[in-house]
Symmetry: C2
């Protein structure tokens, strides 16, 4: 049975303008791989209502799970929650449970729970909250979509709390063979091995070191014995 | 007049599995911003023919320029050129000009120009070559799509040679104001400034330092006087 699939939607002008380098995708990719969920697609869109709605609707129709990152803070450019509500065709307003969490947080620090901060309690109807132990403002889950903060530390805690709720697959095992020959030298026999192991994913990633070309051959699959078998064939073929 | 738009398509299982962290998107975002082209969307898909074709057709219909990264090497998992040909509905085969480049390169190094390496001379009909001074195997341009290597050093030289051929827009100027207050404190007046300068993009990016919250306010636009004006308003509002 194929593994469940996931997609990620990153929302943020700061990434598309080159100001910030995204860190969340790499983290999510690694965490999903551990539990046997295939991250099949990532889209990065700007802080634009229509772009978010349309990407989200495409991704949630095509994958078992969608995780979004960014745009749920208190400022005017944080429009993700409203866009998610629009994508699902549901109402959105400040919700009591989210407001109470935030009110208690700001009260305890002697900070004003102002209108801007109340925006962070806007939750689409029918969503459940994702806890944020770091800065309290919650994410939320609705349907197969999990809406998380863009700040990497907060994103990571939200991923940690959502992943155990997802249906995982067979964990993907991965082994790497480093070959000190260029891809062009090994491509022929490598392609033959890939054809002989259609149940595995066999990829080749070139590198350059001290002016010489090399290749990392990565074998991935859920059946450990098959991965071992393919690795043995490759080692035999490409042993120095 | 709005600036020209661009999209990027990153092709590679290694990024979606979390094995490799993409570096090309961040580089491209910065280079496009310099010449006034708005990078509006990025998609990352796996080494899957149908996924590449469908993402490419969506992106090339929606944007002035599309740049792809990855999947043009000699191994069995390098399927980008064939997928691009399929997306455009054109034939693809080993082409003389690309083959001659590669033949001369391998001859000069005493290396065999084998079948795998010949795959790198497969160019869709009607495409023009993008030079690769580093490892010779060319990228190519077809329609509004520019197909480049995934290896970062090669990607960067290809970007450098293609960008001067694109129609740029007004360069985007950017200024940042660092405010040692949390987003929730500044969001109200910040939103008012954003509303007063609808021609500018004003974003807020939270950070944490030594346990305290702060915000970087980034003002972007093509009219330097307007950017200065907005920055002056913000400095007045949020001066320590």
């Amino acid at each position: 049975m194929p593994n469940p699939t996931a997609a990620m939607l990153v929302i943020g002008d700061e990434i598309l303008s080159g100001r910030t380098r995204d860190a969340n995708m790499h983290h999510l990719a690694q965490e999903l791989t551990k539990v046997g969920i295939d991250l099949c697609e990532v889209r990065i869109v700007s802080d634009d209502h229509d772009a978010i709605v349309s990407a989200l609707n495409a991704l949630r129709a095509g994958h078992d799970t969608v995780i979004t990152s960014g745009g749920i803070g208190p400022t005017h450019d944080d429009i993700t929650a409203d866009a998610v509500a629009a994508a699902f065709g549901v109402q959105i307003d400040v919700r009591d449970d989210a407001r109470d969490l935030l009110q208690a947080h700001y009260d305890s620090r002697g900070m004003e729970f102002n209108e801007a901060r109340k925006r962070m309690a806007r939750i689409p109807d029918g969503a459940s909250l994702i806890e944020n132990p770091i800065s309290i403002a919650p994410g939320f889950s609705i349907g197969n979509v999990h809406v998380m903060a863009g700040v990497p530390t907060v994103f990571q805690t939200m991923v940690a709390s959502v992943i155990p709720t997802l249906v995982g697959g067979a964990p993907i095992l991965s082994q790497t063979l480093r070959v000190d020959r260029g891809e062009g030298d090994i491509a022929g026999p490598l392609g033959q091995v890939a054809a002989d192991f259609p149940d595995l994913s066999i990829g080749s990633y070139p590198f350059q070191q001290n002016g010489a070309y090399g290749s990392n051959i990565v074998v991935r699959g859920s059946d450990g014995a098959r991965v071992d078998h393919a690795m043995a064939r490759l080692s035999e073929l490409f042993a120095a």
